[in-house]
Symmetry: D2
């Protein structure tokens, strides 16, 4: 099994709540941010063009299990794995660690969509050159 | 089966993203906001006191399936059900509708914790008077 | 002097920070939300059409003085006044109260812009029918 | 005049809005994040201890002028200057640049407060060792 892509994130003051810990909704923003870093490392972007068409990857599912709280100034290591590339969808797995210890595990599934002025958002098959980069 | 608790929410401009739709992370904030409304309707609070002890309900799991996008000015109806009350945890189910159509379904599991200056956060059994109100 | 438009807002748990109070950045989101309510009361929208053209009101300045902290579950009353309508810009003044006491005062200046695919965002004179509604 | 402290920030997807640009409220979060970086460079923290007392720096004023919009994936350089250290307050000036061009200028004033369980938040004179580090 190949090594996952890894990126870092520091917990901001504005991301904490009155319980003194990072609000759980931030983990979903951090997953997206880690996905962006991962895609950039493969030469991809969450809002991209392919063969002159404008593509997007809206999320169809997101989940997270919270193991330990994190707080202001904590530096979190986020590991990103491509868990599955389907015909139209891609699923990422995320593992959050602080000081080597797992603090959360999450998953996001996105669907490849064509974005047009006329027909709005429409699910399509993931173009081959994007699939290849995701599976690299 | 009893009727779920229902509350409303309007999508704010700041909650949209450059794809022109509400960012998916907001659904998790809306679930919490709906939970707060639900708890208030039962005389409870997410940060509460019981027998002189300070209790909190940090989340251990959260998930959401996104069926249709929502956007600025959309009014969302959120139905809240208590799906399960365990010894130490409570699981809520959420259904988001817009104009009668389901746009998302989510779930949050929280653990009842005692918050003390000395020992920090520690999972405890849900006090009986809170359990009763959750199961009402 | 005419009465300002008034709207309400409850402070959400996710809007608090580890100091136990609402994070100051939220006041800017609340101003925008109050502006949206105000505009709706005049039949206007922050993202609107006029004579078939797509208009927006990006902000050029925003400021806030924080008098007293507010926290989770506080209900805030927000008064909105149109302070000035210039050729291309509009300035709103906001007063936040809790239990009758002022907790913050803010101001936002927006510029009327034409949004086109070809030329992006371009400042234009506020269309007469919008100006009239703002000055009503 | 001494050189300002400089830090960087990338605009996240979740920070954009349906106008396709970073929502203006994020500039206030970025100022705070840059302040945290600046304080860390001086061995300070926004939530700190001094002589066994717990201190905080709640904001009393914040403002920002927006010159040009920024969007997803833009890398912003933020320059931080201590503009004034009063008896109890400190004012920071921020300049945001993208590709060498100014995109926004902001200012935040914070008051040094003693945080105690008994009396809550109370403004006090900035301790000498903190003042010295701010003025370094």
């Amino acid at each position: 099994m190949t090594e996952p892509f890894r990126t870092m994130r520091r917990v901001e003051f504005a991301e904490t709540d009155m319980a003194g810990i990072a609000h759980f909704s931030n983990f979903f923003r951090w997953m997206e941010s880690a996905e962006v870093d991962f895609l950039a490392s493969r030469g991809l972007n969450v809002a991209l063009e392919s063969a002159g068409r404008s593509l997007g990857f809206p999320r169809v599912a997101a989940s997270c299990d919270f193991v330990k709280p994190v707080t202001f100034m904590d530096v979190i290591e986020i590991a990103v794995r491509v868990e599955r590339v389907g015909a139209k969808s891609v699923t990422y797995g995320f593992e959050f660690k602080k000081g080597g210890e797992v603090v959360a595990r999450g998953r996001i599934t996105s669907v490849c969509c064509l974005v047009t002025a006329e027909r709005g958002i429409e699910a399509i098959e993931i173009p081959e050159e994007i699939r290849e980069k995701l599976l690299e």
